[in-house]
Symmetry: C2
């Protein structure tokens, strides 16, 4: 990939180094984000589920479990916690009585908006340490990371 000569797809040496670096950075950043949590009452995965619902509309618990790379029983618990907090609504599936449909409440939408606002503090902090070029690289890579995340 990294070599634009006539050996098209062999020797992923540079990519291997990049993946190494990515792996390490993603894991450490993940821990950072966990601490820098904007809403203390929501776990990272709960937050992520709300983000997914905001993007995709509604989904069944099974779909959410697959998207978040979590096992079904874990998603059951997460959805139950979110419901208890009034952030999601559970409705029967129109076609299959085994399934349920999870969707976000108006309260969740307001919470996400509030959350976005709070993040600006962290964002401002980052803005001081990253230059325009670095920001551009992050913005460009974000969709690719998303693609990898739900490969």
């Amino acid at each position: 990939m990294s070599y634009s000569n006539d050996m098209p797809d062999l020797s992923h040496g540079d990519d291997a180094a990049a993946v190494n670096s990515l792996r390490s950075a993603v894991m450490r950043l993940g821990r950072r984000l966990k601490h820098q949590r904007v809403d203390e009452s929501l776990s990272p995965t709960e937050m992520s589920v709300l983000g997914t619902l905001a993007r995709c509309g509604s989904a069944t618990p099974g779909e959410l479990a697959r998207k978040e790379h979590v096992q079904p029983p874990s998603m059951t618990r997460i959805v139950a916690l979110l419901e208890a907090k009034g952030l999601v609504r559970l409705e029967p599936h129109p076609e299959d009585r085994r399934q349920k449909v999870v969707s976000q409440t108006e309260q969740a939408e307001a919470m996400l908006e509030e959350s976005r606002r709070k993040r600006n503090a962290w964002l401002a902090q980052l803005a001081d340490t990253l230059d325009e070029d670095e920001w551009a690289k992050l913005r460009a890579a974000a969709p690719v990371l998303e693609k990898l995340a739900h490969l």
Copy 2:
């Protein structure tokens, strides 16, 4: 940042969206990587500590805890586990008898090399789903993510 007009540092709208996307992707990718673990006997953080030691030479438990964004007691446990597996060596600090110096063993170096080799399987899998442009974006962003991770 995203706007090259005469209002230099206000309105981080695009960046906020990018950070949102990044946050979600990083967390989900983190979970992915956790499962796709190359060495079953090592936790992600143990792996990350070895990587840090390989890059930085040696460090005290306190330094490692700060670098990995983990509390000191957690690092005590992690270092103990790594020592039990013969992957790190603990020596007294030459100038401060409270501190210790942690460094990797030859066995750890061999393990990391083996690990890099194993990762090529996952890498090959990714290579099929990402095009050259996407790879380039990831490679460009990797150092920025590392910078964020140990900000």
